[in-house]
Each structure stands twice: as structure tokens, then as C-alpha cells.
């Protein structure tokens, strides 16, 4: 085996790949070869490093130099200076990674300091397309331990003792689910992995599948042993082509090594996994809908009970867990339930991965111990709000969750605390909003999503969410009437209590939570026909302040509809009837003379 003196790790997650990290990789390989370094320096394409904002990211070891926003043109300099002459290219280092003249290691950078990586432990560390790298990081050790040293009952006991709760959103105790399915009677049982990550703004499951697919395969095999199943299916979104491809590669390599298939580790245990593709239906994240979809039907949920543990795929007992839940399992088996419980809080042990996005400086993926406060995530890890704007609210839980206002920012993140606030953990989307975001419009955005994604099976969800959306559209377009807000509330509570599945039951949350904390914004829209955030177009108008306007004519030139007129060197005016409120004039005015009201 070749020993390399340096490793160049290039992020191959979706975000960085979208900014051409594949071209950067080719360039590195080319230049390294040109300099004759290809026996000394190894280029590795890894999964997501998490700090997507700074992408494309390249990390060079052994120094751990963290290069951000790398361009293809920069590669030659890094190879020439850093890899050949040993001088780190400071100009390209991530800004927080440089302190005076020394470089900080990655774990010292603000973004990573408060994180604790369990589910993401191998993301950005190993090459996900090489099973040997996973094995080198204790991969498949947990499966080996389970098959040779433990009974299925002992495995379930460890998972139960760990207190692990489902990371897909609901937070149901994972160990109990395993126990129910193990106890269910059936000649055939199945293990499913829910990788239908549909919550807009959440991408942790994708990153795990892209960065560390074997951890999921290993956990599914462990689950198979524990509940007595020998077939698994991973239901993954077709919108995640890189994840699908890496899963296929991982399954193939695991079969070749005898880690999937017949007689694993010579113990007589058989287990195999197949990938099934989703086709763009959010509701398929609901477990009974997901099962229907694998069976080749419309992805519609059904009544529970019977739960999938008793009657699941093709009517057989079925265990279904989410990607991030599985990714925790091998570590729990290896390090024990006590270790896992020592992280996080009593009721929510362990960590949770969040996809941090929206109006925040460090967009990306973060894994934090449960109990970390929203403030720590947003300010210490996320680096605060860009452009000096004021933090207004944070949305968690996607279309099923709600908005948490600025004054509750010291809330520790746990399953139960978030639910108490009228939001929920959800799969882990965390969208930060500043003063320019209109809360009514955000509620409208999520309702628009649920209306589109409602499967149509039960009337409260099918009809109710549509009626709610209509009222919200009315309000945001300035046609709200007294009584609309009360009507919204009534509809919301009915839909919540009468819908068939989780989608409908949680669909009103974005409205209810914004009504709870930002009712005055709704009232301003309805009663004063005013959008306090200045975001709802129909309620806005642009004006030129006479005293500030120098008559430079820039605005008149940039206006696409010719709504601005005036003599050169004298104040201009906007014709409100012609104005389409595109905001082009406001952006271009050199004297900040234009305001929107």
C-alpha cells in the first residue's frame, strides 16, 4: 500500500458539486501529476463538510488547511505553493481559520467548535465510494459485534437503553419500534429506510447518503438481525442523483465483501438491500404512504393502526426508520447506550443534524448535541444575520413546523421544547428569517406547499388547506377582511384534529405559530393594508424623497415600464398606476432617495 505525505480532500456534496468541485478535482489530479507528486499526494473526493456557504471547499492534510470558495484557477497555486513548497496559501483560507499568523485547526473554527459529529462522523472525512475507507474507520465492526456476540434481544435492549428517538421528525423511541416489529408474528419481515427527505430546506439525509452511505447499510443489517428480517429497501428521492449513485456503489461493494448477501461473517445471517426511487411526492415521507409507493401504488397514507410494525410492506411486519436515525446505530452499538445518553439531554439524548439556511452567514449542515440553544446555533455556529439586519424568527420543522420568534431564542433544542412552542423538530430544517421576511407570506408559502402536496385522500386536508391558502392569499394581496384571521384559526384547528395523517395534522402549524407570535403582522395586513416587513408586493409602493433626489435620471432609465418621470437635475416622481413594484429603481439610486412603504 502506498503511503502518502499529504491528502487533498475535496467536497463532493451536492452544494459543492453544483459549484464545479468535480472540475477542481480534475485540475488537482492533473497539476499534481504534472509536478510529479502523484505518488506523494492523494486526492480524495469526500461527502459534505457542512459549511456549504464557503463552498467549494478543499482541505489539505496533514496541516488541515481549510480552503474556501476555491476556483479552478486557484488549484495551480495551491499545488505549487502548498503541496510542492510547503507554504500554505493564506489568501484562499477560510476567513475564520486564520488567526494572526497561525492557522486554526478545523475544530477550532467557530462553525465547528460547538458541533458534535456522530451521524455525520465520516462525512467529509472518507471517500464514500470506497468501502475500505469506511472499514478503516471502524465500519462494519458494529455489525460484526452484533452478529457474533449479541442476541437480537440484546441489540434491541441497547437501542432502547440509548434513548434514541426517530430523527425523521416524530421523535418516536427507536428501540420500541424495533421491539414491536421483533415481536410481531410473520413469516417474512422487512427493514425500510426512509430517505424521502422532502422537507424544503433540509438536506441532512442526503448528505449522510452522499458522504457515508455504508453507515446506513450497516445499521439496516443490524436492524434486520434484531427484528428477524433478511430484506431491506431504501426509499430515496429521485431528486438526489448523487446519493442514489453512491448508495448503488456502496451496496455493490458491500456485497462483494460479503457484508451484505448470504451468510454474513459466516454466521448464517442473510441480509440484502435494494434501492427504490421516489418520484416527487412529499407525502411519501409518511410511512404508510411510503410503503404504498414501494408497492407500486399512489403514495397515499392509510389509517393507523395497524402500524407497519404489524402490517407493513406487502402486509408483513416492517421496521421503518429514517436515514439519520440509522446513521447513529453503529456508534451506539460500538460505544454503548451509556455513552450515547451522556450526550444531549435526558429526554432527547444524542445529537441532531440541522440544515441551516435562509438569512444567515454560515449556511450549511450542523450537528449539535440536543439541548444546545437556538442562540448558539444561529450566532455562534451560524455566524449571525448578514448585512447587519435584525433577526426576526427561525423556522424549524418545515411545512409541519412553525416559526419561533426572536425573544425565545434561548430555548434549548429538544423534541419536546420545540413542540411546546408550537413548532417541531421535524427532519431538521432550520431557516433563519430577518426583518425583511413577512411572516404572513411565509405561512402562505408553506400552505402553498401543503396544498400542492396533499394527497387528496381525506377532505380536511384536501379542502381545508386549500381554503386556508385562499384566505392567506387574500390577506397578502391586500384584500383581507375583518373575520379572516378568526376563520383561519378555526380552519386550522379543525384540520389539525380531523386529518388522516401527519401531513394534514401538522399542516396548519406554520399558520398557528405565526398567528401566536406575529398576530400583529396579520392584523396590519388586514386592518391597515400594510405589510410591516415590506415584502408583500401588493401592499407596497415606492416613493422618491424630494429632498434627496438630485435628478440624475438613473431611476427613470432603469425603470422597465417607464413609470418614472422628471426633469434633469430636479426631483423625479413615480407614477403609481404604472409602477410594477420591481424595485429596480431603489437598487440603482445612488443617493438612497427611493423608499418603499
Amino acid at each position: 500500500m502506498n503511503i502518502y505525505r499529504a491528502h487533498v480532500l475535496i467536497c463532493g456534496g451536492t452544494g459543492c458539486t453544483s459549484s464545479s468541485s468535480d472540475k477542481i478535482q480534475n485540475e488537482f489530479e492533473l497539476k499534481i501529476k504534472e509536478k510529479g507528486l502523484d505518488k506523494e499526494v492523494k486526492v480524495v473526493r469526500t461527502g459534505c463538510f457542512g459549511l456549504c456557504e464557503a463552498g467549494p471547499i478543499v482541505i489539505v492534510y496533514p496541516e488541515g488547511a481549510f480552503y474556501s470558495h476555491v476556483k479552478v484557477e486557484d488549484v495551480e497555486e495551491i499545488v505549487e505553493e502548498h503541496l510542492l513548497k510547503g507554504r500554505i496559501v493564506k489568501r484562499l483560507l477560510y476567513k475564520d481559520a486564520v488567526e494572526e499568523d497561525t492557522i486554526k485547526s478545523i475544530n477550532e473554527v467557530g462553525f465547528y467548535k460547538k458541533q458534535k459529529r456522530i451521524a455525520l462522523r465520516n462525512c467529509g472525512v472518507i471517500n464514500p465510494e470506497d468501502i475500505n475507507e469506511y472499514i478503516a474507520f471502524d465500519g462494519y465492526m458494529a455489525l460484526g459485534k452484533v452478529l457474533t456476540e449479541m442476541t437480537p434481544e440484546e441489540v434491541i435492549q441497547v437501542v432502547k437503553d440509548s434513548g434514541l428517538r426517530g430523527r425523521g421528525g416524530g421523535g418516536f423511541p427507536t428501540g420500541l419500534k424495533w421491539e414491536f416489529t421483533a415481536k410481531a408474528q410473520g413469516d417474512q419481515k422487512y427493514v425500510l429506510c426512509n430517505a424521502d427527505e422532502g422537507d424544503p430546506g433540509a438536506f441532512m439525509d442526503r448528505s449522510i447518503l452522499e458522504g457515508d452511505p455504508h453507515s446506513v447499510l450497516e445499521a439496516m443489517a443490524i436492524a434486520g438481525y434484531a427484528i428477524g428480517a433478511n430484506q431491506g429497501y431504501i426509499y430515496v428521492r429521485v431528486e438526489y442523483p448523487i446519493a442514489v449513485q453512491r448508495l448503488e456503489i456502496a451496496i455493490k461493494q458491500a456485497r462483494e465483501k460479503g457484508l451484505l448477501g448470504k451468510n454474513i461473517f459466516g454466521t448464517g445471517f442473510d441480509f440484502d438491500i435494494e434501492v427504490r426511487l421516489g418520484a416527487g411526492a412529499f407525502v411519501c415521507g409518511e410511512e404508510t404512504a411510503l410503503i404504498a409507493s414501494i408497492e407500486g401504488q399512489r403514495g397515499m397514507p392509510r389509517n393507523k393502526p395497524p402500524y407497519p410494525a404489524n402490517k407493513g410492506l406487502w402486509g408483513k411486519p416492517t421496521l421503518i426508520n429514517n436515514v439519520e436515525t440509522y446513521a447513529n446505530i453503529p456508534q451506539i452499538i460500538l460505544k454503548g447506550a451509556e455513552w450515547f445518553r451522556s450526550i444531549g439531554t435526558e429526554k432527547s439524548p444524542g445529537t441532531k443534524v440541522f440544515a441551516l439556511g435562509g438569512k444567515i452567514n454560515n449556511t450549511g449542515l450542523v450537528e449539535i448535541p440536543m439541548g444546545t440553544t437556538l442562540r448558539e446555533v444561529i450566532y455562534e455556529i451560524g455566524g449571525g444575520i448578514p448585512n447587519g439586519k435584525k433577526f426576526k424568527a427561525v423556522q424549524t420543522g418545515g411545512p409541519s413546523g412553525g416559526c419561533i420568534p426572536a425573544d425565545l431564542i434561548d430555548t434549548p433544542i429538544e423534541f419536546d421544547t420545540l413542540t411546546e412552542l408550537g413548532s417541531m423538530m421535524g427532519s431538521g430544517g432550520m431557516i433563519v428569517m430577518d426583518e425583511d421576511t413577512c411572516m404572513v407570506d411565509i405561512a402562505r408559502f408553506f400552505l402553498d406547499f401543503t396544498v400542492e402536496e396533499s394527497c387528496g385522500k381525506c377532505p380536511p386536508c384536501r379542502i381545508g388547506t386549500k381554503r386556508m391558502l385562499e384566505i392567506l392569499e387574500k390577506i397578502t394581496s391586500g384584500k383581507g377582511e375583518p373575520g379572516d384571521i378568526e376563520k383561519l384559526e378555526k380552519l386550522a384547528n379543525t384540520i389539525k384534529s380531523a386529518s388522516l395523517c401527519g401531513l394534514g395534522q401538522t399542516a396548519p402549524n406554520p399558520v398557528l405559530s405565526t398567528l401566536k407570535y406575529f398576530r400583529h403582522e396579520y392584523e396590519a395586513h388586514v386592518n391597515e393594508k400594510r405589510c410591516p416587513a415590506g415584502s408583500c408586493k401588493s401592499l407596497l409602493s415606492y416613493h422618491i424623497q424630494e429632498d434627496l433626489c438630485k435628478g440624475c435620471t438613473v431611476c427613470a432609465k432603469v425603470c422597465p415600464v417607464g413609470a418614472i418621470s422628471g426633469e434633469r437635475k430636479s426631483p423625479h416622481v413615480i407614477d403609481q398606476d404604472k409602477c410594477i413594484k420591481c424595485g429596480a429603481c431603489l437598487e440603482k439610486c445612488p443617493f438612497n432617495a427611493i423608499v418603499k412603504k
Partner: protein
Amino acid sequence: MEFKFNWEENKDKIEELKKVIEENKGKKGALMPVLHEAQRIFGYLPIEVQRMISEGLNIPLAEIYGVATFYSQFSLIPKGKYQIGVCLGTACYVKGAQAIIDKIKEELKLEVGGTTKDRKFSLQATRCIGACGLAPVMTINEDVYGRLKADEIPAILKKYME
């Protein structure tokens, strides 16, 4: 129907589909994989193709139509040569994806979910593609455009017009 299915031109593709159907016949839950393959082969799922699948897998056409129309990834009309997808995930929306869509609609005289008559462009508002760090994001086939502003749209589209 605005777009007519051409049997002659699609001869090879039909053969390919028949093979796929043959391979999946009798398998449990075969419909979704077959529809995915059919969509890959033809680019969309015209009623003629659905009928072939129905006969091949012995599943009622009504059921196939039901499944094909349930999932947003399956399309009953052909997609354009250049498929534009504008991400409407939360992060992109908060960062102004709607203005991007509006600009494209205006430039191409195209509605969301539609295809231009010359089959050159089609426009989709996609669910989160997970490139939230680059919000707002647009994809045209394999090309990804991130951190977009609406006034950059005409120049980008022009590259594909030739």
C-alpha cells in the same frame, strides 16, 4: 393533445421499453421502477406508453394513469430540450426565487409546468434540491446556477437559445 406520439420515430425506444417490462414482469412492486425507466427512455409518459405498460405488466390502465399523475416527477407532456428547474425550497424562496421564476416566465412566455411549442425549454418549480448554500438556485439540465439575481436571467437563457 398538443404533442403527438410518433410511433415510427420511437421504434427503438419502444423495443427498449418492452425489454424493461419483460425484466420486471412478475416482480413485486414493479410499476414504479418501470415508470421511471419509461420516463428515462421517452422523456415523458404519453398515454400510448402507459397502455404498453398496462398490457405488459397486466395492471389496469386507470391504475397506471393514477400513479403517473400522482407523482410530480412523471410528466404526461414532453419536456423541453433544456429543462429549467427553479428551486422553490424554503431557503431559495426566502432569498427571492419567486422573482427568478417570474423573470423566466416573462422571457420565455412560458408557464410553470409547461413546455415551449418548439420543445426547446420547459420550466419546473422544483422542490428543494439541497443546494441551499447557493440560494437562490436554478438548474438547466446539468448546469447549476447559484446565488442568482433576476437580471442575470436573460443572459443565461441566451446561451441556450442558439
